[in-house]
């Protein structure tokens, strides 16, 4: 009998300690903890790791300069695997039990919406650094009082790209287009946005076929042959990262790039580094490019990143860097860390940064950034990979964005 009790006690104690482990409070030093969550595993782990790399560099820089409000900062990293329910849990855990006083939400789209719902109930400042879905901040019903976005945005990209592509298509007399985008929210919504503006600038544009491969689909053969069948003059694609690389490799063996012009906003350094036979002459936007804006500060940051991590920065890297720069300035200005105080300081704030098209980026009243570098050029197989970059006209972007927001009944 006593043996039974022993076992029972052992079992109970074991279970209790296992259950208690997650919320054993940690001793709090005077360090200021900043919670960062992202996708750090699986096929798009690069999103998280290249964000984290940039943040580690920022942490070193800020601590060397004395930290925030005299406190050294420590960024706490969490992997949500991109799952919304896990993202929601992590956001709560970072604030409630890990003692984080600021949040960097480096999640991709759907998880960032889940994080925003948590932030709404917590009165903590949060900056979304990787979600490009416009409605996150544009829709007043979804926007949260203390959540901001420091990232490029779908509708900005669509306007800038469409203006560039309309000029390009007119000059080359390309009227028949095909689209090929990943079959999920980003791919569908952004393709629709591009086409809407594209048709506005080039009314005789005709979309003769659409292909919708799955995200992470290993084989694009049937999609490629479908596109070749349709004989378009040009192809617009929103595939990115590994999918874009596979698409280019599989398209190459069908000589797809000799049969139609190709335009994509998504050629960035990792794609450039991975694809061995990149076709020349793809029209592409700059996600992050050391040579655009062509300033010493931008070049210096890109080189420093490369030197430290032995890989090139991504679009996500600069966005997270700028988020920390915004926090730095806002905390100085507000002299506080609370959500409401920081929200007031961030709204309308303009900072100097190498990633702005004119050396500055502004946080607009609707909690999203403007003035960051967007440009389009064409690819070449060697450095600097994208040449003849034309900067987008931000005046025009904002004009059309406002029109779009009215259509969506956001304003």
């Amino acid at each position: 009998m006593s043996a039974v009790i022993t076992r029972r006690t052992v079992l109970a104690a074991g279970t209790a300690s296992l259950l208690a482990a997650p919320w054993v409070a940690r001793a709090q030093a005077n360090t200021l903890r900043i919670g960062m969550q992202s996708i750090l595993s699986g096929p798009i782990a690069l999103l998280g790791t290249s964000s984290r790399n940039a943040l580690m560099m920022e942490q070193d820089r800020i601590n060397a300069a004395g930290g925030f409000l005299g406190r050294q900062i420590e960024i706490v990293y969490r992997d949500s695997k991109g799952q919304p329910q896990e993202a929601a849990r992590i956001a709560r855990e970072l604030v409630n039990s890990s003692g984080c006083e600021l949040l960097i939400d480096a999640e991709a789209s759907s998880a960032s919406f889940a994080v925003q719902e948590v932030v709404r109930s917590l009165d903590v400042a949060c900056i979304h650094t990787n979600s490009e879905t416009s409605s996150l901040t544009a829709d007043p019903k979804i926007r949260a009082p203390t959540a901001f976005r420091v990232a490029r945005q779908g509708v900005h990209d669509a306007v800038a790209g469409s203006i560039y592509l309309a000029e390009y298509a007119s000059a080359k007399k390309l009227n028949k287009w095909a689209t090929c985008s990943p079959d999920y929210a980003y791919g569908r919504d952004t393709t629709a946005q591009y086409l809407q503006f594209f048709k506005q600038f080039k009314p005789d544009l005709e979309v003769i076929t659409e292909a919708w491969p799955k995200l992470g689909q290993p084989d694009f053969t049937e999609v490629i042959t479908k596109l070749i069948q349709a004989k378009p003059q040009a192809l617009f694609t929103l595939l990115y990262a590994g999918d874009l690389s596979a698409f280019v490799n599989q398209g190459n063996i069908y000589a797809l790039f000799a049969q139609m012009a190709v335009a994509t906003p998504n050629v960035d350094y990792p794609v450039l580094a991975a694809i061995k036979n990149l076709p020349a002459g793809i029209q592409s936007a700059t996600r992050y490019l050391e040579t655009f804006p062509d300033t010493p500060a931008n070049k210096e940051w890109g080189q420093a990143y490369f030197k430290k991590w032995n890989e090139r920065p991504t679009n996500w890297s600069w966005q997270n860097t700028v988020a920390m720069q915004f926090y730095e300035q806002a905390i100085k200005k507000a002299n506080a860390l609370g959500g409401k105080a920081l929200a007031a300081a961030l709204t309308g704030m303009k900072i100097n940064t190498p990633f702005g098209v004119d050396g500055t980026i502004t946080m607009r009243d609707d909690h999203t950034t403007i003035g960051y570098a967007i440009g389009w050029g064409q690819t070449i197989p060697k450095e600097p990979f994208i040449v003849d970059v034309k900067a987008a006209d931000w005046g025009k972007i904002i004009e059309l964005e406002t029109e779009w927001k009215k259509q969506q009944k956001y304003i």
Partner: protein, 299 residues
Amino acid sequence: MDLHALGACLTTSACVVTQTTSGLIVGMLLFLVAAGVTLIFGVLKIVNFAHGTFYMLGGYVAYTALGVTDSYMLAVLAGALSMALFGVVFERALISRVYGSNVLMQLLICYAVVLIFDDLVKIVWGPEFHAMGMPQAFQVPPLFIAGGVVPPFYAVLIGIAALIAIVLGVGLSTTRLGKTVRAAAINAQMVSALGVNTTLLFAIVFAVGGGLAGLAGALAAPVRSLSPGMGFSVLIESFIVTVIGGMGSIAGALASALLIGLVRGFGTIGFPQFTDGLIYIVMIAILLLRPQGLFGRRL
């Protein structure tokens, strides 16, 4: 849904030929992976949920081997042989401990292996994706056959896959080893009682199954992206193939892989945003009307 486009495609020979050939290509690569799943299940009654991991590792090993040897052929061999070896280790170290226990225990062990190796790949090769690049020999313009487009690289892949289908089919039905394997599939205990070393036999089956998955991963590496976790979608697809074809039937795997390839080839024209749903509906219909699959024996 775009039934109009589908109708238009079905009435033009160029479209039918091109989408059929691309369906063949998709199907044959699928067959290479699924052949291993179905072989292992047929003989050992083990559902190998870790099969996608073999495919992934085969691709990564080939990627590294290409960097070292600069020969695509050696890279493919390295991918296939290393996974054959890994298959034996996997069977001896883990799977052999759960023969006869229920399918959930097998699932648990395989899933643990998937989790572990996805992370190990990330540690060794990094989280970013890699592309192997097309071997020099295949950087040639595509061939045009009867109005359809066939790249030489794919022609070679189809040839290899077809060869393997034949070798497996003939090997299983005529060689002594093949006959023993088929006998073991029906009654392993009896085969063991007749003096055959079933331990060795089971290890060989895993070596062949793993090797085939590794081969598929390595063969496809020039045109597909390598990333941690890439085995998952391949695993799901090869399950569908196995179930539709009949679990344990090589001919069934071949037929259903081609069927899936064709559904994809024409689905992308008629139902561009519901191709996957279409495939699951086919799978459910088959399971209901003919649970043992197209070519399977009733269990």
